[in-house]
């Protein structure tokens, strides 16, 4: 953290009163300087290209477009915190792209934490922006999603995922070719993201891609995947799983 050169921040928010609040809150954060703020996509692109900020606070919904429109049109790599006022599609898009975001109304503490986290993290990858932007425009989960841990962000195809195992705030994603990736998201987030049509949750800690289910051993409450991996079925979810296999 370099104290002499504070991070330059640009705020893009269409409501003047909210913009004012963001400016005030960010000014309180150490090591930050708000170099500009605006309310539309056009203004933002011009401003960003001019001021070359280190951090962007982007409202997802703007009068003349979206926050993704801005990111796609700027050349300056910047760290981004997205803002949204309760929009399910926006949340879905952020999760697909593994992008951090804040929900309005803003909380000073949360904002501070998010800023510190983003400062220490890698800048967004182009893939992350593309995947999230597409998801937001199409209002659906794309074929590829981004998996991210502290150290990396990786794009995987949803159909490549064999199953996911969650524990203590981490989720391990097992791909069908045997690779595994540990992400910093809760399993619940993936469950919300990945559709019921393709994924089954037989256990509190497991989410299974239906494509890779080989057979179900009802008596032992075990689902066997195609490469002989055994997924336990919890007694709480057994009925639901039984129903699913009955309907097949």
């Amino acid at each position: 953290m370099n104290l002499t050169t504070p991070l330059k921040v640009i705020i893009v928010e269409d409501l003047a009163l909210l913009r004012q609040r963001l400016e005030r809150l960010l000014q309180k954060q150490p090591g930050l300087v708000v170099t500009g703020s605006c309310g539309t996509v056009d203004e933002a692109i011009a401003l960003i290209n001019n001021r070359k900020p280190d951090l962007l606070l982007l409202d997802i919904e703007l009068p003349d477009g979206t926050g993704f429109d801005i990111l796609e049109q700027i050349s300056v790599p910047a760290k981004v915190i997205f803002l949204t006022a309760h929009n399910d599609y926006a949340k879905q898009a952020f999760r697909c792209g593994a992008i951090d975001y804040l929900l309005k109304p803003l909380n000073e503490e949360e904002l501070g934490e998010a800023v510190q986290k983003v400062i220490n993290a890698q800048p967004l990858l182009r893939e992350q922006i593309d995947i999230a932007g597409n998801s937001f425009r199409e209002k659906k989960v794309p074929e590829n999603i981004v998996l991210r841990s502290r150290d990396f962000a990786q794009v995987v195809a949803v159909k490549e995922i064999a199953y996911l195992q969650g524990e203590y705030g981490y989720t391990t994603v097992y791909l069908h070719d045997g690779k595994k990736l540990v992400t910093t998201s809760y399993l619940k987030e993936y469950e919300e993201l990945l559709s019921d049509e393709t994924f089954l949750r037989p256990h509190q800690s497991y989410l299974v891609n239906k494509l890779y289910i080989d057979r179900y051993h009802k008596k032992d409450s075990i689902i066997y995947l195609k490469d002989a991996i055994q997924i336990p079925v919890s007694s709480r979810r057994k009925e639901m799983v039984d129903q699913y296999f009955k309907k097949l």
Binding site: L15, A16, L17, L18, R24, K104, P105
Partner: protein, 634 residues
């Protein structure tokens, strides 16, 4: 041959008896029976008789006279008896007897019925019953109907003959003979008595009987005489008094010839006498005549006897070859007799059974016809029922479908309206709270309080409005004003607005769908004023027409000059509004309109002008005079 005579006599007797019983004033029906039906029966023309009887039935029924009915039934019984359909005959006679038992006071119909029953029973070989009926008739007749007694005696004789009780046969024969008054009766009895004697081989007794008959000159009739002479002659010749016998026989033959009643047996009997007299040629000649007659009568038994006699004759004439040929013929006729009787019986049986079979077939055919008719009827009924129920079901389902469709459309409409309101609310709410936080944190307490009041108003109204398809114009405009004020604060006074209502005394008396105007103003603020330097202005003008409100929302924003995402968004909200207006137009059956004008094209100045024609409704007045609408007053 005798049998036919007997039957014919029964018929005549029955009807004669009936005739006797009838008073002179009686109808001509019984004579009709006697004249028309009896001859047919005697000739065994049963079909013709039946036809006549059938044609008579309606007439008899109409007359409703039990005597006629009994007679008719008995005639039918005779017809069936002659046709050898004994069960049918029995049925008719039973009916006759029953009717007689019910209605007859003179017992004469009962008597007639009993006689006939006895006769039919005899034919059916139910001999015990036949005897019982016959005896009953006999005793009744002794009391009331002495002229009918000979006939009953004859019947009883027939029955006892079948039983084989000789003393009883003799008793009734002689009683009948004594009581007979008519020549035919007497003749029949005489013949039967002679047969009886012959049967028991008491030629002497027979001879004595006939000799006494000859002495008795009190009764004279050609038929009777012929039978007397013939029988006496034959009996005498049998006893060896050939000449005397021949004389009687020839006398009898003479009378018979006059009556045209000659039969083969006459010739045969006379021939036998000639043979005994040694007049072989005459014998042979007579036998030939008898033979031709017998073959004509188809009496195989007699033919056999004749051939035998002929053989004896030829032997005596010393013509052995011819004799043996005659014997052969006799033998062949014996075969024929046996055959014919067996064949006849077999044929009879066969005919009987085939008739029975045919009856059954007809019955079963009728039954199956009835059954198939019934089945067809049932099928037809079922088809009609099915069609009816299908139609009814179809109508019902169509009705349900329509109802569901209607309900669904209404639900859809309401849902969409609520959803729309909800979407606007949640997004707007979070932004508002964020803005409010800024006001509070900045110490703008007055503004904050004002903001909260406006926000509360808007929330309350929109919550209430979302529940109702129609809200009062007053409430809707209040909500709109609140919304615009809040937006004004949030945007940092980026625009001003003005709402004007013309010619409306009571804004509560106008009901419109909620949230129609708000999206238009939102469009103006978001897309019209965002990024603009100069201050925006929204003017809202509302005028009342006959059935609709004319609304104009005019802004001085950017207009349509910016393409892309922005106009897409604008058109989306426009689409939703248009659809809502269409629903409203359907529901109220009033014209509705949404028109968006880019002012740059018409006036040259920047901005958008939206013109709305919104059909309104009037609130329903309740009994207590209060309006249904119970919205918060401001």
């Amino acid at each position: 041959m005798y049998r036919i005579i007997v039957l014919a006599i029964i018929c005549v007797a029955c009807n004669t008896n009936g005739n006797h019983r009838q008073s002179p004033s009686a109808d001509p029906l019984l004579p009709f029976f006697k004249q028309r039906v009896n001859p047919l029966l005697q000739n065994l023309e049963t079909a013709a008789a039946k036809k006549i009887l059938d044609s008579l039935l309606p007439y008899i029924k109409e007359k409703d006279n039990y005597i006629d009915m009994c007679s008719w039934l008995r005639c039918m019984a005779v017809v069936y008896q002659l046709e050898n359909k004994l069960d049918s005959a029995r049925w008719y006679v039973d009916r006759s007897l029953q009717l007689a038992l019910e209605k007859d006071t003179t017992q004469r119909q009962i008597l007639a019925g009993k006689i006939q029953t006895a006769d039919i029973m005899g034919d059916q070989h139910s001999l015990d019953s036949a005897v019982r009926y016959g005896r009953e008739a006999y005793f009744m007749a002794q009391k009331i109907d002495t002229p009918g007694l000979p006939l009953i005696c004859l019947k009883l004789y027939n029955i006892y003959e079948k039983i084989g009780d000789l003393p009883m046969q003799k008793k009734y024969l002689f009683e009948g003979f004594k009581r007979s008054t008519s020549p035919k009766h007497k003749t029949v009895f005489a013949v039967n008595i002679s047969e009886y004697y012959e049967k028991v081989n008491q030629v002497d007794s027979a001879l004595i009987f006939f000799q006494t008959l000859m002495k008795d000159t009190s009764f004279s009739n050609p038929y009777y005489n012929a039978v007397r002479y013939e029988n006496l002659g034959t009996l005498l010749s049998k006893k060896g008094y050939l000449k005397e016998g021949l004389a009687y026989q020839l006398k009898g033959m003479q009378i018979s010839r006059e009556l045209d009643e000659l039969s083969a047996r006459y010739y045969y009997n006379i021939a036998a006498t000639y043979l005994k007299l040694g007049q072989y040629l005459k014998d042979e000649h007579l036998l030939d005549t008898a033979l031709s007659l017998a073959s004509h009568e188809k009496n195989w038994a007699l033919q056999k006897q004749i051939w035998r006699a002929k053989a004896a004759n030829l032997t005596l004439q010393r013509k052995p070859w011819q004799a043996s040929a005659a014997k052969d013929s006799a033998f062949s006729y014996y075969d024929k007799e046996v055959d014919s009787s067996a064949i006849g019986r077999a044929r009879e049986l066969e005919a009987k059974y085939s008739l029975l079979e045919k009856d059954l077939q007809i019955k079963s055919l009728a039954l199956s016809n009835q059954e198939s008719e019934r089945t067809r009827e049932r099928q037809r009924n079922a088809i009609v029922q099915i069609i009816c129920s299908v139609v009814v079901l179809g109508i019902y389902l169509y009705w349900v479908w329509r109802k569901k469709q209607y309900k669904m459309s209404i639900r859809e409409d309401n849902l969409r309206q609520q959803l729309l309101g909800g979407q606007i609310k949640s997004h707007f709410l979070y932004n508002s709270v964020d803005g409010l936080l800024e006001l509070i944190e900045n110490g703008n307490t007055r503004s904050a309080v004002n903001f909260i009041q406006r926000l509360t108003q808007l929330l309350r109204l929109s919550l209430e409005n979302a529940r109702q398809p129609f809200v009062s114009l007053k409430n809707e405009l209040h909500a709109l004003a609140s919304y615009l004020t809040l937006q004004q604060v949030l945007s940092g006074n980026q625009f001003d607005f003005h709402i004007e209502v013309e010619g409306l005394a009571d804004q509560r008396a106008i009901l419109i769908p909620p949230m129609l105007l708000q999206p238009i103003t939102e469009n103006a603020i978001l897309h019209g004023f965002a990024g603009q330097q100069e201050k925006g202005q929204i003017n809202i003008l509302i005028q009342k027409d006959h059935k609709a409100l004319h609304c104009v929302i005019d802004d001085n924003g950017r207009g349509f000059q910016v393409a892309g995402n922005q106009s897409q968004k604008r058109s989306l909200s426009t689409l939703i509004n248009k659809e809502r207006l269409e629903i409203l137009s359907r529901q109220t059956r009033t014209h509705a309109k949404l028109k968006i004008i880019d002012k740059k094209e018409t006036t040259g100045k920047a901005g958008v002008r939206v013109e709305l024609i919104v059909p309104y409704q009037s609130p329903v007045i309740k009994k207590n005079g209060k309006r249904v609408e119970s919205q918060q007053q401001f």
